[in-house]
């Protein structure tokens, strides 16, 4: 981590890297993997050799808790000012489950150069919602996109893995294996071991 005490003044911005594995712009378009990059900075910025689109105050991210031990956490990413004709991109793409990484970029105000980019949040989008804000006088509406994200720790907490000794569990990993099909049967069977 950079030693910030050597700088007279610094500024920070947040950078969101959202990887949507099934993204499309209309209901008929084909899915493709797309990475959406945006920041609350006022200018286009390069982080980790990737360019981030400046959204300025249209992007708001809730704070995270910082703890020494790993803990479950959630953040909400709010993008406002989305034009109504762009809503299709949100609705027809499969945003749920997308990987999201948020970096905090630290800059030297005097020189405008990047000092460091730290990982602020690493997780997945577990839900999203679109809210409309309608201006009655001007008869125009804009949309807010809310991405609810949980970090990897909470995803792992919810994860159940492993196989059980029954046919369906075995087939979920190895479709053609019938070795455990008889477990329910033998469970209730009495064997006359040694009977004449």
């Amino acid at each position: 981590m950079a030693n910030l005490s050597t700088y007279d003044s610094i500024k920070t911005n947040l950078f969101v890297r959202l990887q949507v594995s099934e993204y499309r712009t209309s209901s008929t378009a084909t899915y493709s993997s797309t990475v959406l990059r945006f920041t609350d900075a006022e200018t286009t910025t390069l982080i980790n050799s990737e360019t981030y689109t400046p959204l300025g105050q249209f992007l708001n991210i809730t704070p995270t808790t910082s703890e020494i031990r790993p803990s479950s956490d959630t953040v909400t990413v709010c993008i406002s000012g989305i034009p109504t004709d762009a809503v299709e991109e949100i609705l027809y793409s499969k945003i749920k489950g997308s990987d999201i990484k948020i970096y905090r970029g630290i800059y030297n105000i005097s020189t405008g150069t990047e000092i460091e980019a730290q990982t602020y949040f690493n997780g997945r989008v577990y839900n999203f919602s679109v809210q409309e804000q309608f201006n009655a006088e001007e008869r125009v509406s804009t949309l807010h996109l809310l991405l609810e994200c949980s970090n990897n720790f909470s995803i792992l907490e919810q994860k159940i893995s492993g196989r059980k000794t029954n046919g369906s569990s075995q087939k979920s990993f190895f479709a053609n294996d019938v070795s455990m099909d008889r477990v329910p049967t033998i469970k209730d069977t009495k064997f006359d071991f040694g009977a004449p």
Partner: protein
């Protein structure tokens, strides 16, 4: 004539009748002989019923919700029966016992291997004949041995599915037959993929007190994956029993 003389007289008449050559006497003798044989038969049957071995009526402790464990390092692993077949003469019981998952590769790319060290049935350690899978002796916790199960139990270990037989580390040789050729009714579709398991065949013998399949089957296993980094990396990445974290997100350097 006293009453004693009267009794004697009746007895003589009866014996004289049975000892006579008349049809009545012959019929009476036949009837008496039949009755006597019948009583003897009944008596023998009763004796046989007491001695006849009716076998054991056993149930298998199978469990559809049992989670197959993951083993790193060395441990005594309890087994869970997933299949059982009784031979047509009811004398030989075959059971397939799942032990644990086959683990993945070490960080250096070497495939981990699980080996069989010892097997215990109801607290008795099994010792084998020279073929490496037929039980010769059993040992109690104090090391005392007995050959009461000699030839009555066979143990076939597998450390990576049905087509990968292995042997106990204490034996010079051992099982070399696929499980589908050992277990009655199993085919090439009984693959037991990525499982460490054992097939046990037990021959009923009441005299030697081998009348059940054992309530507690325990196997001492050793995995070549022992280092914390290897274990953690395997558990984080494995998609079957672990967290399923992509390799790109785990820095192993």
């Amino acid at each position: 004539m006293s009453f004693l003389d009267s009794i004697k007289s009746v007895g003589k008449q009866a014996l004289g009748f049975l000892g006579g050559d008349g049809i009545g006497s012959t019929l009476a003798r036949t009837a008496l002989l039949g009755y006597a044989l019948n009583r003897v038969n009944k008596s023998m049957n009763k004796a046989n019923e007491g001695l006849q071995d009716k076998g054991s009526n056993i149930t298998i402790a199978a469990d559809t919700e049992y989670k197959v464990p993951v083993l790193y390092g060395s441990a005594f692993v309890p087994g869970k029966i997933i299949d059982a077949q009784l031979s047509s003469d009811n004398k030989t019981m075959s059971i397939a016992v799942v032990l644990c998952e086959r683990t993945g590769s070490l960080i250096d790319g070497t495939q981990s291997v699980i080996s069989f060290n010892e097997i215990y049935i109801d607290g008795f350690r099994l010792g084998f004949r020279s073929d490496g899978y037929t039980v010769e002796n059993i040992y109690d916790t104090e090391g005392n041995s007995s050959n009461v199960w000699d030839g009555l139990v066979k143990v076939y270990p597998y450390n990576n599915g049905s087509s990968n037989p292995t042997q106990f580390t204490s034996e010079a040789t051992g099982n070399s037959t696929a499980a589908s050729s050992i277990f009655p009714g199993w085919t090439a579709n009984h693959t037991m993929d990525d499982l460490v398991f054992v097939v046990i065949q037990l021959t009923y013998n009441k005299k030697q007190k081998l009348t059940t399949v054992g309530q507690n089957i325990m196997v001492k296993l050793t995995n070549t994956m022992t280092k914390p980094g290897d274990c953690l990396n395997d558990y984080m990445q494995n998609t079957r029993y672990g967290a399923g974290i992509p390799a790109t997100e785990v820095d192993v350097s």
